[in-house]
Structure formats: structure tokens, C-alpha cells
């Protein structure tokens, strides 16, 4: 049922791509102003769940409530207009367009040019690459650089809910830190973040809430720390609580983290 106090609620979500259900009844709430991280094995339905939020996959059963409004059946554009923006897992920039053009496209729902210019200014500060490579074709950027531009583009709408599918994938350690810091900053200024991440240890550390998805269902729900420290989950999905598979050459001698 609808409840306007709940920011985002998954209610009995069943969804798939025609060859059987990938999600088999997913229920949980995402609280406003937090960072919620979904972890789980490959193929457990994490990306599919995110796609149901942004309208790219329509659930067969169930409802998604966003501030009391049902999202199921709305078009991706209508969902964007409500303030829900997703950065997908695979590259989504227009390769033949410039970096600047790609970022500006992120504000396609905004009509006021001064507002666009202001936001762009702010985003250039957050992501210097947007200024430095403004006139280069997006396709000439490396995989990690493209990911940064995708983030920049998503922020042009100043979304209320940012949905990120594996933001750390393909990023070098320095860029990864920038991206994680940016997620923290986005959250600090009031944006709610829902993310899927295989770099689960770092992601759970900065998350208020953690959800473990397994075989299309919620296996465990708790604070980020709860999930991080759950012995069984650690062994199954977080690489175990022991030293890395490689024994003696533990990087930096600092233990697993």
C-alpha cells in the first residue's frame, strides 16, 4: 500500500525478461537521505531491480512506491521528471558527441539556460575532466573517464534519488576514490543514493543500509555494518573474512582492507 512517509518502497516485485523471473518477490524500503547498497552474487537480480526503478524493466507483479506515488507503468522519462536518475552499468554516452554535449544532455528536462550554466559550472569543479576534455568526442575517452562523464551528466538534473549500477567498475584507484567521495558528497547535500556494487566492502562501509539479494530475493537486510560483518555473507559474497586468496604477498601488509 501507498505510504507517503516512505521515500522508496519495493513491494512484492516480480520481474524478468521473458525467460523466467529474475526477481521473485522483492520487498524492502529505502530511507530518504541515506545511502543504500545492494550486494549479491552475479546473476542474483541486482541490475534488474535497479532497472525496475528507472522504468527500463516493468515488473510483472508488485509495485514501487516513490514518495507515495506508484512508479510501475510510468515511462523512464516520467520517472526522470520525478527526480529519479540512473547511471547504468554499461557505457551509455553518445560516442560521436562531445563530452560537453553529453553532459548538457543530462539537463534536457531543464528549460532555463542560466540554471543549466550554473549547474555546469558546479559540475566542472566536481569533475575537472568535463572542462578539460569538453570538446573531445566521448568515444575517445577511456572506459573510466567515460564513467566519470556519466556521473557528471546524471547530476545535471539535481536528482532526489540517484541510482548507480556498479559505479566503481573499471575505475583506477585514484578515480575510484574520487567517485566514492562524490557519492558521499551527493548524499551529504541531501540526495538519496541506491547503488549496486561488487566493490562491496568499500561500498558497504559508506552505506547506511545494506541489502543482500540472492536468487531474486532479499536474503538479508540491515545496516551497512551489519551486512559487512555478517559471517555467512562475508564468506559467500565479500571474498571471505580471511586474507586474500594469494597468501604471502598481502598488499601493503595492511590486512584484507
Amino acid at each position: 500500500m501507498s505510504d507517503t512517509d516512505v521515500f522508496l518502497r519495493f513491494e512484492g516485485i516480480v520481474a524478468g525478461y521473458g525467460g523466467g523471473d529474475v526477481l521473485k518477490g522483492v520487498d524492502f524500503d529505502v530511507s530518504q537521505g541515506g545511502v543504500t547498497c545492494i550486494v549479491g552474487p552475479n546473476g542474483s537480480g541486482k541490475s534488474t531491480l535497479l532497472k525496475t526503478v528507472s522504468g527500463l524493466v516493468r515488473p510483472r507483479l508488485g509495485q514501487i512506491w516513490f514518495k507515495g506515488r506508484g512508479l510501475v507503468g510510468l515511462s523512464p522519462k516520467e520517472i526522470l521528471q520525478l527526480g529519479v536518475v540512473q547511471v547504468p552499468q554499461q557505457h551509455s554516452l553518445f560516442r560521436e558527441m562531445t563530452v560537453l554535449e553529453n553532459v548538457e544532455l543530462g539537463a534536457f528536462l531543464v528549460k532555463d539556460k542560466r540554471v543549466i550554466a550554473q549547474r555546469l559550472e558546479h559540475i566542472r569543479e566536481l569533475f575537472p575532466i568535463v572542462g578539460e576534455r569538453a570538446k573531445d568526442k566521448a568515444g575517445s575517452l577511456s572506459g573510466g573517464q567515460q564513467r566519470l562523464v556519466e556521473f557528471a551528466r546524471c547530476l545535471m538534473l539535481e536528482p532526489e534519488l540517484v541510482v548507480l549500477d556498479e559505479p566503481s567498475m573499471g575505475l583506477d584507484p585514484k578515480t575510484l576514490r574520487l567517485v566514492f567521495d562524490t557519492i558521499r558528497k551527493m548524499n551529504a547535500v541531501g540526495r538519496t543514493v541506491l547503488l549496486v556494487e561488487q566493490n562491496a566492502r568499500q561500498a558497504l562501509k559508506m552505506s547506511h543500509d545494506g541489502v543482500v539479494l540472492e536468487n531474486g530475493k532479499v536474503r538479508l537486510r540491515g545496516t551497512g555494518t551489519d551486512v559487512l560483518n555478517h559471517p555467512e555473507i562475508g564468506a559467500l559474497y565479500l571474498g571471505g573474512s580471511i586474507a586474500p586468496a594469494n597468501g604471502p604477498s598481502d598488499p601493503g601488509g595492511k590486512g584484507h582492507e
Binding site: 552475479n42 546473476g43 575517445s140 573517464q145 583506477d172 559467500l236 565479500l238 571474498g239 594469494n246
Partner: protein, 253 residues
């Protein structure tokens, strides 16, 4: 002893962007060599040059003492250089197992591959074995397009392994794969290496690279900046500055 794979002074520009600049690299036979570096430093372009997907402006690539500069991708593959891609490339409409069977035909002519109506039982068994190896044998009959991104990466890894190349280039094998599985893949690469396979691995997961590779080359702005043991590389000031970004990198590595 000469290197199994030898890259010498390779340069490549795309329009105004110089992706590779006098880049040289040696991969010794039987080694696991790591290739790390910031986003945009030229790692994937170097893979593309080695495997024939991109023609270098200058420089040479030799494999087992044969010059393969400018050779076509299928030729390089047939000689025994296999690779995976950062973003996966598989046939989405045929089954996972059928994808594997396509890959087993490396030694066959294109025509023979087409006219063959059936794969032998041995080939199917072998393909299934590699699928179990990466943990996705239960998905063998699904169309490959139904796999999640992480599962596609695993299929691609199996796809390269089943072709049995002498040297295997892996482009971010751990990207998008859950941590427990990453550890198990690392173990498997080690086991293959002990049986004589040579690996060149691009990866940002430092734990994975430093634990697995005896030798690591760091790329920066299109050229090989430093090569050495994981410890040498990790303590190199240039590397810290260009790539790891400070001494507290282990938090994010």
C-alpha cells in the same frame, strides 16, 4: 632468454590523442604479468595493438619470435594469443554452450567451422568443464544474452580458456565480479599458470594484481613508466603519484 610476447616502441594516435607513445613491454614465457595504470593510460589500446584490433603508427609486436605487427585478429588468435574484453563480446542469441563451441574451433578454417554440423562429445565435455571452472555450467543452455553482466565476463573468460591459447590477455577480469568469485578466479589463474600458461592481466583491483603477478608494468600517458615486482612498483613514488594517489590506497584498492 627472449620474451614470449615482446612489444617494442609502439606508438598510436587517435586524432589528436596520443594513446601510446614509444611503449615497450616484455611478457616472459610462463609468467603472470600485471599491467596497471590510470584510466586512459593506454592499457586497452596496447591490448588492441597486440591482438591486431588496432594498427600501430610505429613499433613492432613479436610473439614467439614471429612478427605479428599488423596481423589480423583471427590470425593472432590462431597463433595462440587469446584475450578477453573490458566490456564483454559474446554471441547473445545462441546458448552459453554454443558460444563455447564456437571458441573451440580456433584451429579450423572458417569454412570447416561452418560446414561442421556437430561438435564432438569430447568438445562438449571440454566446454562444460571450462564452464564449471568459472562456475556457470548450470547456465549452459540459456541464451548468452540472458546472462547478467558479471556472468558474461565469466563466460568470456571460459571462452578464451577453452581455445587453449599459449598466452592469455585478460582485460579487467575482476571488474563487475563478486569478491568471493574473484578469489576463486585468482586461484584458477594460478593453477593454469603452474601448468604453463602465460598471462598478461589488466586490472584495477590491486589485491588481485599484487597477489597474482610476479611482475607488474605500470602504464602512464601511453608509455610503460615502471616495471618490477609488486613490492618495487608499490613503493615507487612515480606510481604512487600517478596511479595509487597516496599511501592509504589499500582502503580502495
Amino acid at each position: 632468454m627472449s620474451a614470449l610476447l615482446h612489444v617494442e616502441n609502439v606508438s598510436k594516435s587517435f586524432g589528436g590523442v596520443q594513446a601510446l607513445r614509444d611503449c615497450s613491454l616484455d611478457v616472459e614465457k610462463g609468467s603472470i604479468t600485471g599491467l596497471i595504470g590510470p584510466n586512459g593510460s593506454g592499457k586497452t589500446t596496447l591490448f588492441n595493438v597486440i591482438t591486431g584490433y588496432v594498427k600501430p603508427d610505429s613499433g613492432t609486436v613479436t610473439f614467439a619470435d614471429k612478427t605479428i605487427t599488423n596481423a589480423r585478429p583471427n590470425h593472432v588468435f590462431a597463433l595462440g594469443v587469446g584475450r578477453t574484453f573490458q566490456l564483454t563480446r559474446i554471441f547473445a542469441r545462441i546458448s552459453v554452450l554454443e558460444n563455447m563451441l564456437v571458441a573451440t574451433q580456433r584451429d579450423d578454417s572458417w569454412l570447416r567451422g561452418l560446414t561442421r554440423s556437430m561438435s564432438s562429445k569430447v568438445e562438449v565435455a571440454n566446454a562444460m568443464e571450462w564452464l564449471s571452472f568459472v562456475g556457470i555450467s548450470q547456465l549452459a543452455d540459456l541464451p548468452a544474452g540472458a546472462l547478467s553482466f558479471g556472468q558474461r565476463k565469466l563466460l568470456e573468460l571460459a571462452y578464451v580458456l577453452v581455445a587453449d591459447p599459449d598466452v592469455i590477455l585478460l582485460d579487467e577480469p575482476a571488474g563487475g565480479v563478486n569478491l568471493t568469485l574473484i578469489n576463486s578466479i585468482a586461484e584458477k589463474i594460478k593453477a593454469l599458470n603452474e601448468n604453463g600458461k602465460t598471462f598478461l592481466i589488466v586490472e584495477h583491483n590491486m589485491e588481485f594484481v599484487m597477489g597474482l603477478c610476479a611482475r607488474v608494468t605500470v602504464m602512464h600517458q601511453g608509455t610503460a613508466l615502471v616495471s618490477g615486482s609488486p613490492d618495487e612498483v608499490r613503493s615507487n613514488a612515480l606510481v604512487l603519484d600517478a596511479y595509487l594517489g597516496g599511501d592509504d590506497e589499500s582502503e580502495y584498492a
